[in-house]
Symmetry: C2
Subunit: 302 residues, 2 copies
């Protein structure tokens, strides 16, 4: 099944205890599309970059079956840029630079050839842009998954609540779930958030795994304990990209299949953190992924 991913394609500059990078390719849509493209013959992208975004990066994405027809290139403008530095524990990070650039007035435009997409992934963006993206589709997709962040809860809660009513799955981290629901218990938080619109909720807990909620059903996928986390950038986007990519591939949105999709997403994320930026996502083989999924099975069985 066809997938449309809307989000940011951008530059990141990263610093971790293992080293640092100059500007490299980043952005929510980049990680989502790279992860989902592992499962699908084509991933359609809607995003915006400036004319500083190199052709070589676009070639890299296209080599992974990522369709850039919906990538707007703004002449005379610069791409979104984020720079961050991770602390030694790799869980906390400081944002050093955020330059919105082209993102400041991004108007998503969905090409005619994408209109048949049955799976829509809304990466972290202004809630109003997420609403515009959904409204830009002639037919409602079979499944809409969205990410967001605490920043939008602080500055655009009304818009965020509107988009929550329009989507099927919300994917946020534990801190965001607590802020959105004003509840500490994640089980209570999940119930309140699902009452806001999304029938299904994923709460990402980083090194502690991920929780999937729907009605009164719960699934807890542990994270694979790793020897080294080299760079956590993009792990959450890689997770949700694998999640929706697996669902689109199998075209089965039952809760039982979503359990498997969470495991595949977790496996993809466990690769992502092994190298800087997107590097590792270009190398994963099918047998490596299957091996990793088997490690999750071994980890969880009793």
């Amino acid at each position: 099944m066809s997938l449309l991913s809307i989000g940011t394609v951008a530059f990141d500059a990263l610093e971790t205890p293992y080293g640092k990078t100059d500007k490299i390719i980043g952005g929510s849509c980049t990680y989502i599309a790279l992860s989902a493209s592992f499962f699908l013959p084509r991933v359609n992208v809607v995003a915006v970059v400036g004319d500083d975004f190199p052709q070589s990066y676009m070639d890299m994405l296209q080599s992974k079956n990522i369709n850039l027809e919906g990538l707007q290139i703004k002449n005379g403008e610069k791409s979104f840029f984020w720079a961050g530095k991770y602390h030694n524990n790799m869980n906390d990070r400081d944002t050093l630079v955020t330059e919105l650039n082209v993102l400041a007035d991004f108007q998503p435009s969905v090409p005619e050839s994408y209109q048949d997409c049955q799976y829509l992934m809304l990466g972290n963006l202004t809630p109003q842009v997420q609403i515009d993206a959904i409204n830009g589709l002639k037919n409602r997709p079979k499944l809409i998954v969205m990410d967001t962040m605490n920043f939008w809860m602080n500055v655009a809660m009304d818009d965020l609540k509107r988009v929550l009513k329009m989507v099927d799955v919300l994917c946020i981290n534990d801190e965001e779930a607590r802020q959105l629901s004003e509840q500490y218990s994640l089980k209570v938080a999940a119930r309140l958030i699902m009452e806001m619109g999304p029938k299904t909720l994923i709460i990402k807990k980083g090194e502690h795994g991920a929780l999937l909620f729907q009605e009164d059903k719960m699934f807890y996928c542990p994270a694979l304990p790793l020897e080294d986390v080299f760079d956590p950038t993009g792990a959450g986007d890689t997770f949700v990209g694998g999640f929706i990519g697996y669902l689109a591939k199998t075209d089965d949105i039952s809760f039982e299949n979503m359990r498997k999709a969470v495991v595949y997403g977790s496996a993809m994320a466990s690769f992502c953190v092994e190298k800087f930026g997107t590097e590792r996502l270009f190398e994963i083989s099918e047998s490596e992924l299957n091996g990793r999924v088997n490690e999750f099975k071994e980890l969880a069985k009793f």
Copy 2:
């Protein structure tokens, strides 16, 4: 199989966002024995109290098949007393009072009738007392499980390293594992800690579950997301008491059976936090426990 539990029997005064208690029964050995006794016809205790410890508490423990022959009662002395207050998140707490009292010069003495015990649980105590307890047994038990805490890493690391060489399973929390190994990655930490002596390591992560390591094998048992955590006191001891109780009942110390034991320990801990202190542990029925274990199965399956 017979189980010997050595640790503290004490008074706790607790304050959580849900309320507060006066002095109630507490102590590592109390929670461990109550949890393990669910699985066994008899749990033998070695501990010390003052003559302020009420007969009614001893009657309560004996009603749950807990054998107090090894409970020393020191005339003219007071029982160990701890008071603590939990923050709103229930993960952090402040210690308000610690009165060692009888614990200051505790010399464990193992009654002759306990000498056949095949399973030994060493609750959190001075490492030297843990060593004395092991040396007080004529025959080495089939399995020795121990708990400890960061305090002993700060003030008695040499003794702690000695006792680590004498035990089979160490059960500590993630913060303690990182301090003991001086490693952030729990997978690397586990390898280094197992090189210090214990062949098997359990890392408790509270609301994030528990990890079990042995050689290159790993098991991650999620914690059941709960609506309310009323009082987390004793949850870690209840967990390890259920773990060793289940192992002693089944008399199977294979890694595969330890996976199940971790689940049973987690299920017992999930009950413990539902009421203040030990209260909930007196009420659990077999069908409730089996129902809770099934919830863990449902939670983890994919």
